[in-house]
């Protein structure tokens, strides 16, 4: 973006507030991201690492993980883009509905999504068997591809929406007035400006796919993948060393992805929120484009809704596939676990708040011309490369003794979840920041505002949406997480997903479905409250910038 003058740089460095904040952020990420990672990586000996190429299964798992990453990232990002496009066009039919539906996959524990697909599309599936009479095997890479696409496109959508909404419609008007046709406008203005968002979304999806074990563990069948292999090492064999090794293999591709994204995204400047613009209505979308987007969203909606129908119907069905008599018996059993729901909400809110604050602060700091900002940036994205089990074990190894003795407390779960979900919030905040023209800030600085004053008065209002997004996503993911909490829950703070996983493990599916339904209702209610509290400020944003 605009060149920063040498005097500007000197002023940044001299500003004690910014410098202190920078050091604090670096220290925080060092303690909660780098240190646990380091503890896990040095757990196996060098000889263990050298033995990796001899394991046929692990090499197979590595190859499979990469294949799934490519397949699921392409489809999930594409679906996310179409949904984001539909959601930000006032004239696409049903856009609010589609946006709401697209958020649904984020509300359920991932294993439940995969489980519902087995109920719907498996050998005894309601649709495949009972309705269509087919004999389908959903287990394997194709089932996983479907499930991961449905599970991860909402992440892509959330990130891309943030960027699309920040694009000033006047640019599209300008392109059209200059004679560009509809397709050219979308391609050269909308999509081109959304590129950092799309790239960021693809990056987040790719590393989520690589680290995803919740879906894979249920539906991949005998198809070995790195993330699940790490989990099986631990769950089946109590082999912490093997798990650490597998996870170390996972970090290689994610680092490559990270560098690729940096290079590709930073090639263009994308400034559309300026101090001079004023809000204009969106131009009408071309009918063909509008209906294509709507039909695609409708098809995806069916896939998403099926999951939820499966879970909710399962909660009221005596025995799925055999005895379809409606019953409330599962709810009595699930009601015994109500305290776990409260624990989930409390931990989720804590994690969401930490993610939101850290994401926005780090995004602001990495946008400054400060030394070591690449390191800060890397630390903020790194957790996305780590599977949940890795983070869980890392936190136990790192914080089980003084000075930071956190094991057994609510804090360790909240912190682990917050920092694990940091990349999502951070990417969203960065994409939003890239949209802000530096001239607003320069004006403030020239009028004598300090660096922190700039953050408070200029960036904070603009970043509120990024904060809200980070909070909500982190909250939802924390409440539905299993892979981390399985290691960090202690007697006394057992969370709902953990209880559900146990119920599934013990074959009590009806009660598991009932408790999941309660979790869904509670999560939706919490998110709705958050949106009411934070969303009002967001809507007033363009007017305030223009004033």
């Amino acid at each position: 973006m605009a060149t920063t003058s040498l005097s500007g740089l000197r002023r940044q460095l001299a500003d004690p507030g910014v410098a202190l904040a920078f050091l604090a952020a670096l220290a925080t990420l060092g303690v909660f991201v780098l240190y646990p990672t380091f503890r896990v990586l040095v757990y196996p000996a060098l000889a263990d690492y050298l033995a990796i190429p001899r394991s046929v299964r692990w090499l197979q798992a590595a190859r499979n993980s990469l294949v799934m990453m490519v397949l699921s990232t392409v489809t999930a990002t594409f679906a996310g883009l179409v949904f984001a496009f539909a959601a930000t066009r006032p004239d696409v039919p049903g856009r609010r509905f589609f946006r709401g539906v697209a958020l649904l996959p984020l509300f359920a524990p991932p294993f439940m999504v995969a489980f519902a697909y087995i109920l719907m599309f498996g050998r005894q599936g309601l649709i495949t068997r009972t309705l269509l009479g087919l004999d389908v095997n959903i287990f394997g890479w194709h089932g996983l591809w479907l499930v991961q696409t449905v599970a991860f496109f909402p992440l892509a959508m959330l990130i891309i929406i943030g960027v699309l909404e920040a694009i000033n419609p006047s640019l599209e008007h300008a392109a059209r007035n200059l004679g560009a046709d509809e397709w050219t406008v979308v391609r050269t203005v909308t999509l081109a400006l959304a590129r950092p968002g799309i790239a960021g979304a693809a990056l987040v999806v790719a590393i989520s796919v690589l680290a995803d074990f919740g879906n894979a563990v249920v539906i991949a069948g005998g198809f070995p993948l790195l993330a699940t292999e790490a989990w099986f090492r631990m769950e089946g064999l109590a082999d912490l060393k093997g798990a650490a090794l597998v996870v170390a293999m996972l970090i290689v591709p994610t680092t490559v992805l990270f560098l690729l994204e940096r290079y590709w995204v930073s090639r263009r400047a994308y400034v559309t929120v300026t101090g001079r613009g004023s809000p204009i209505d969106h131009p009408p979308t071309h009918p063909a484009l509008r209906w294509a987007a709507a039909s695609f969203c409708a098809a995806m909606t069916v896939l998403v809704v099926l999951v939820y129908l499966g879970v909710i119907a399962g909660a009221f069905t005596t025995v799925w596939g055999r005895d379809w008599t409606p019953t409330l018996a599962h709810w009595r059993l699930a009601a015994d676990r109500l305290p776990t729901l409260w624990a989930s909400v409390r931990i989720g809110a804590l994690a969401g708040a930490i993610t939101g604050v850290v994401a926005v602060a780090v995004a602001f700091l990495t946008s400054r011309p400060l030394p070591l900002r690449a390191a800060l940036d890397f630390l903020a994205v790194l957790p996305g490369a780590l599977p949940g089990v890795f983070v869980g074990v890392g936190f136990v190894l790192a914080f089980n003794r003084p000075p930071l003795e956190l094991v057994g407390t609510v804090w360790i779960i909240a912190l682990a979840l917050a920092f694990w979900h940091l990349p999502m919030g951070y990417q969203a905040a960065v994409a939003t920041l890239k949209q802000i023209e530096r001239s607003i800030e320069e004006a403030a600085t020239n009028l004598g505002a300090s660096g922190l004053r700039v953050l408070w008065d200029i960036y904070l209002p603009l970043l509120r949406r990024a904060f809200a997004g980070a909070f909500v996503v982190s909250f939802i993911r924390a409440v539905t997480n299993v892979s981390i909490v399985v290691f960090l829950v202690a007697p006394g703070n057992v969370v709902a997903t953990f209880a559900i996983l146990n119920m599934i493990g013990n074959g009590i599916w009806g009660a598991a479905a009932a408790l999941t339904t309660m979790l869904l209702a509670l999560t939706l209610a919490a998110v709705w409250i958050a949106q009411v509290a934070l969303g009002r400020a967001v809507r007033g944003l363009p007017a305030r910038v223009g004033a």
């Binding site: 005998g222 989990w231 099986f232 090492r233 025995v319 596939g321 057994g408 202690a490």
Partner: protein, 341 residues
């Protein structure tokens, strides 16, 4: 102004998390990591507290490996006193690594429990038993196999019959204790070379090897396969407690697990932990485990679980547990080479 308000709300939220959940050692309380399901765990602990006055904080996870890994991770400062449930194969390595506290319960001798069911050095005590079985989905059997007059499998060798092509499910020996014990049992039954030829034949029938043990029951109950191999008590429990269409039998030349309990070295309350181990070896907890978990008791004075053949009427392969554990990684490597999935 609104910004200040929001930051205030966040600060309150963050502070509300402080001070919650910190645990301290208490003389009248023990912390238990349980690999048994919630129901059995809760019932056993209720009875323990009633008899001893010691409160129990339990964490039950249906996966012994997860708990064992957790105990390893917490080795610098153990949080729990007891690791209960799961095969002794999960407890023995913890003992080797020096993470367990030796104890010889007087109750084991009083009750004349078979000495083979406890560690000679006192690091773990077996208090229940489980045998590997063949599990059949009766719905699918009636639909797909009965009309073709296929005979129900009764032995391990029946599992390789061509009628079951693509219909067999078992836990993966690469990632589960039960799957591994099954493969080792075939080696003890047939000798190493013939066992691998036999396992290749079985592989032709396998639809999948589930990465977790409960996964096999889940898939069989869903009808994703017709026959499977898993712990017999899991199959019986799925039918009797959860009304799943599963039939379970234990073939000759089967193998068994010893369900163990051990004391974690350095835990907050070792005296309470010893009282807990003593309690598990008494009659009541074994009755609870047999009634609700369908697992065999180690005591002779506890009735056989509903739906199960008495343990002493089962026919076991000569299973050398020490040899199996020593050769575990070699067998798993060969599995990768021979079976490749």
């Amino acid at each position: 102004m609104r910004r200040v308000l929001i930051l205030g709300v966040l600060a309150t939220l963050v502070l509300s998390g402080a001070g919650a959940g910190v645990t301290f050692a208490q003389p009248n309380r023990i912390v238990v990591y349980s690999a048994l399901p919630d129901l059995e765990t809760t019932l056993v602990h209720r009875e323990f507290t009633r008899r001893t006055g010691i409160q129990v904080e339990a964490l039950s996870v249906a996966a012994a490996g997860t708990l064992a890994a957790r105990i390893r991770a917490e080795k610098d400062r153990p949080r729990a006193d007891i690791f209960v449930g799961g095969s002794a194969d999960f407890h023995a390595p913890l003992a080797t690594e020096g993470l367990l506290l030796a104890y010889r319960s007087p109750v084991a001798a009083e009750a004349r429990v078979n000495p083979a069911y406890r560690d000679p050095n006192g690091f773990w005590h077996g208090w229940y038993l489980g045998a590997l079985g063949i599990i059949i989905n009766t719905d699918r059997w009636d639909r797909d196999m009965a009309p073709r007059r296929v005979a129900k499998p009764a032995t391990w060798d029946d599992l390789v019959r061509p009628e079951f092509r693509g219909q067999f499910i078992m836990p993966s020996p690469m990632t589960t204790g039960g799957g591994f014990i099954f493969v080792a049992a075939q080696i003890f039954r047939l000798g190493e070379d013939r066992a691998w030829a036999w396992l290749r034949q079985l592989n032709a029938n396998a639809s999948q090897y589930t990465p977790t043990a409960p996964g096999t029951i889940t898939l069989l109950a869903r009808g994703e396969g017709v026959v499977g191999m898993q712990w017999a008590h899991e199959g019986i429990g799925a039918r009797l407690a959860n009304m799943q269409p599963l039939e379970t039998l234990v073939p000759p030349d089967t193998a068994f697990e010893i369900g163990a309990a051990s004391i974690i070295k350095g835990g907050p309350n070792p005296d309470g932990a010893r009282a807990y181990v003593d309690f598990l070896l008494t009659r009541v907890p074994q009755v609870i485990n047999a009634s609700y978990g369908f697992r065999y008791p180690v005591r002779g004075d506890v009735p056989v679980p509903t739906g199960a053949t008495p343990f002493d009427q089962l026919r076991f392969v000569r299973y050398d547990r020490d040899w199996a554990i020593q050769n575990m990684s070699r067998i798993r490597e060969r599995w990768q080479r021979e079976i490749g999935r």
